[in-house]
């Protein structure tokens, strides 16, 4: 069990971020594609040329050479060695550490069994399905007995059923392992994270415990990555004042004058096209974008977002004035206390 800290600067890719994981915990790096998550992981593993990465393991500077770092990386593309059998792929780490051929084979077969691929050791990577290849890559990384495990979008590119199987497998295997997992999916964060860091444009926008960041986000960006909306305002007489005269009654919260917010799931936010009179607290806004999400469309405004049935979104386009209905009585929480980012 190893605690990890890393300060990564890769100017060529616009990345400047710091992450920290306590021993045996899982940090989820949550961010959209292109926010620099993969670069952070690769730099921590030591394989980004020109990166300035200060990595410590249990407070000691990590060795420069990747092979001495013992930081495992599960890359998005699996990167299985195509010229070796599945077993030799998994045995590669143990063999590199000096284990004998027979012992390494044994270790590899044990790992293959642990990831549910008993008996597939003689296959070539090319003959595996996407889910099987991901499992082999996971087994290969863990068989090398890394002190810290980095997983780059471990469930991306898998169909939903396989992805949830692999998610369950990873959740089990990472118990007690210091790990950093990148994802753009709030579900992964909820399923795996002890702590969450939200990445935006190469740096960490917000970090904290999973409960804090996912259920009480302090920035609209973190809220969106966590699949929620954040309504920001100032406490005034038992309500959250978003703008002059626009108030959302809340069920409780910090004292008057404090910068605060309430958060809701877009599915709980109502949408109206004409000025409504009753029901939730209505906030006037304009459509900024429409995001298809299966059988619903997430209508994004400047301040809020709401999920509506596909047919209800048919007449909407960017600029259409709309009213978002925020449920009354949500718990408000202060946005100023604590650092937004480390």
């Amino acid at each position: 069990m190893t605690a990890l800290t890393a300060r990564v600067r890769v100017p060529a890719r616009g990345v400047d971020a710091a992450v920290e994981v306590s021993s045996g915990a899982t940090l989820v790096l949550l961010g959209p594609n292109g926010s620099g998550k993969s670069t952070v992981l690769e730099a921590v593993a030591g394989i980004v040329p020109g990166a300035d990465a200060r990595v410590t393991l249990d407070g000691t500077d990590a060795p420069r050479a990747p092979r001495d770092r013992r930081i495992g990386l599960l890359s998005q593309d699996d990167a299985l060695f195509p010229t070796m059998s599945v077993r030799d792929n998994v045995a590669f780490g143990p063999r590199s550490r000096g284990l004998g051929r027979a012992a390494a084979r044994e270790a590899a077969d044990a790992w293959l069994a642990r990831v549910g691929l008993d008996g597939l050791g003689d296959r070539r990577p090319g003959a595996l399905s996407g889910g099987q290849a991901r499992r082999v890559a996971i087994a290969r990384a863990l068989a090398a007995e890394p002190r810290v495990m980095l997983l780059d979008e471990p469930f991306a590119g898998l169909d939903v059923v396989v992805a949830s199987e692999v998610r369950g497998l990873v959740a089990g295997l990472l118990t007690g392992v210091t790990a950093v997992v990148t994802t753009h999916d709030a579900l992964d964060a909820h399923a795996l994270a002890d702590t969450v860091a939200v990445m935006e444009a190469g740096s960490v926008a917000e970090s904290g415990t999973a409960a804090e960041v996912l259920t009480r986000p302090r920035t609209a960006f973190a809220a969106r990555m966590g699949g929620r909306v954040l309504v920001e305002g100032t406490m005034r007489g038992g309500a959250l004042e978003i703008a002059a005269g626009v108030r959302v009654p809340v069920g409780g919260g910090p004292g008057a004058g404090v910068r605060a917010g309430v958060t809701a799931h877009p599915g709980d936010v109502a949408l109206a096209l004409a000025a409504p009179v009753s029901g939730p607290a209505w906030v006037v806004d304009a459509v900024r974008g429409l995001e298809p999400r299966g059988d619903v469309v997430r209508v994004h405004g400047a301040l809020l977002a709401a999920d509506v049935p596909v047919e209800a979104a048919a007449g909407l386009e960017a600029g259409t004035p709309v009213w978002f209905g925020v449920p009354r009585g949500l718990e408000a929480y202060a946005l100023t206390s604590g650092a937004a980012a480390r």
Partner: protein, 254 residues
Amino acid sequence: MTGPRWLAPLAALGGLLVLLPLLGLVARVEWTDLWSLVTSQESLTALGLSLRTAAVATLATLALGVPLGFVLHGMRGPVRGLVRAVVLAPLVLPPVVGGLALLYAFGRRGLLGEELGGSVAFTTLAVVIAQTFVAMPFMVVSVESALAARSGRHEAIAGTLGASRTRVLTRVTLPALAPALATGAVLAFARALGEFGATLTFAGSLEGVTRTAPLEIYLVRETDPAAAAALSLVLVAVAIGVVALAYRPLRGAA
């Protein structure tokens, strides 16, 4: 892709340019005497020497050309272009010029003549050196272009798994380069087998020592055209056989 139709007649012309001389050669072969001509003592000696030296030269291009390809791939900027041009020069140099250059380097009066304790010129070693000299560029080009097609991702991941650089090379990179190495080796072998000019200039034409099959053919073409044709046919057969068996065009992605 197939290209426009007018390519076809030009392609046919190109094919004929290669095929007709081969047919001409086959037409000259006296089939009844073929076996005895090929198995004559001179022919067998020359053929055996050719196969042995070309095989050793191919191994030498592997041992030296592969590292050269790696180093070249690792270079950056204008230096790389310059070094590549020098390393590949034997490919475009007239072989006789190459032979002269080898003589001036390793011959009795050459740069290293003293250091080599006399002369390697006019020995079987000289044949191998001449063949390696002209054949190595094929290996270098093969390796360099195969490396350029690789992302380096597998090597990086192998590093995170704890592998030393040597282990990454032998277990990850070289196996992935196997098709390119095979291609390079086949081309190098074929080139070494056909070497004539540099060999004659640098190694001479001593029977059993430096007189390879191409030299033997050149020597007997006036006095014994039938033997020359027979031996030529063998070389053609070996060349086509080797290339057909082992040569695969390099693919873009490795």
